[in-house]
């Protein structure tokens, strides 16, 4: 790895740490869900738990004390009160911060592999296991006296 690359990463890391540190000084705006109806409160909780706080390491805006997270919680709450839908609210946030803020990545060509990969792998895995079993299902056991088998019988006895 290039020396410059290392320097840049270290510098960027230090800068961000510094930033995070400075941000900690500003007192967060408190949010309470008093004003929301029960169903709105549920939507609020669901939304703030799925949006990522950008200044934090890896936390949702629900879990973060950062002022920006508090601002976004405020936005979510006031937009719910203003009658916006969940989709409109997430659009509002991604228009400003990009897909990075979504803990639930949208389904699009760039994430096909992410969403479908595990299930495709499962199909492959089950297929391979199926072939393996099919090949072995009716194999006749070795004709010669098999010490392993003998011991196995003893084992089963001891169970």
């Amino acid at each position: 790895m290039g020396r410059r690359g290392v320097d840049r990463v270290v510098a960027a890391g230090a800068g961000l740490l510094l930033m995070a540190w400075t941000m900690a000084w500003a007192e967060p705006t408190p949010v309470a869900d008093d004003a929301l109806l029960p169903q709105q409160a549920q939507r609020y909780q669901a939304l703030v738990n799925e949006l990522r706080c950008l200044v934090c390491q890896n936390q949702s805006i629900a879990d973060s004390n950062a002022p920006l997270a508090a601002d976004l919680r405020d936005q979510v709450r006031s937009q719910i009160l203003a009658g916006r839908t969940d989709a409109e609210i997430t659009d509002y946030v991604t228009a400003r911060y990009g897909d990075f803020v979504l803990y639930r990545p949208p389904f699009k060509p760039a994430t096909w592999l992410l969403w479908l990969g595990p299930f495709a792998l499962l199909l492959v895995g089950l297929g391979v296991a199926g072939v393996f079993v099919a090949r072995r299902a009716h194999r006749t056991p070795a004709a010669a006296p098999d010490p392993e088998r003998l011991r196995r019988l003893l084992d089963e006895e001891s169970r």
């Binding site: 790895m1 601002d71 400003r96 897909d99």
Partner: protein, 180 residues
């Protein structure tokens, strides 16, 4: 069919390649979705006054829009470089983010003022619309007010030369062209 026994090695090789890439990049840097789009609208006021300041006042020439605050340590780090840029004739609009006007003005009085215009965003509302997530952040706007680049963190000569200077030059036909 012995090839399948090589699958683990192949997977390892791919992973090592991926991580070699990963070690060279900072996962925390988030690109702005606003690049290539017109700068978001806002209606703020000039710092320390009630005089309105609106988005259209950013049009006409390429310039930098710098979000800063008196409480921000990173801003002190980059400040000397902004002073240097302003000496070189770069136009910078400073948006004082989530700050008290008096604090911001005092800070500028002490460290110098590199900004062409000073705008106050005490609630951070414009910051939210611009996708600011941690000051200092610097946006590069072309003459039409389109965001062409965003720099996150303290600006320095290296970042300036590598990314911003070429954009500023490209956006200014005959770089020394007169004021509008």
């Amino acid at each position: 069919m012995r090839l399948r026994y090589l699958l683990p090695v192949a997977a390892l090789f791919a992973l090592v390649l991926l991580f070699t890439y990963g070690l060279r990049h900072d996962p925390r840097e988030v690109p702005s979705p606003l690049i290539g789009k017109p700068a978001p609208d806002f209606a703020l006021r000039v710092l320390g006054t009630d005089e309105p300041y609106v988005r259209d006042q950013l049009l006409g020439r390429p310039l930098l829009v710098n979000f800063w605050a008196s409480w921000c340590a990173g801003c002190q780090v980059e400040h000397p470089f902004l002073m240097e840029l302003s000496r070189r004739g770069v136009e910078i609009v400073g948006i004082d983010y989530k700050d008290v006007d008096a604090d911001g003005l005092r800070w500028l009085a002490r460290h110098g003022n590199p900004y062409r215009s000073l705008v106050a965003d005490p609630q951070g509302r414009a910051g939210l619309d611009w996708g600011v997530y941690g000051v200092p952040e610097t946006f590069v706007l072309d003459a039409q007010g389109v965001i062409v680049h965003k720099h996150i963190g303290p600006l320095d000569e290296a970042a300036w030369q590598a990314h911003i200077a070429p954009l500023m030059a490209a956006g200014t036909p005959g770089a020394a062209g007169g004021r509008r």
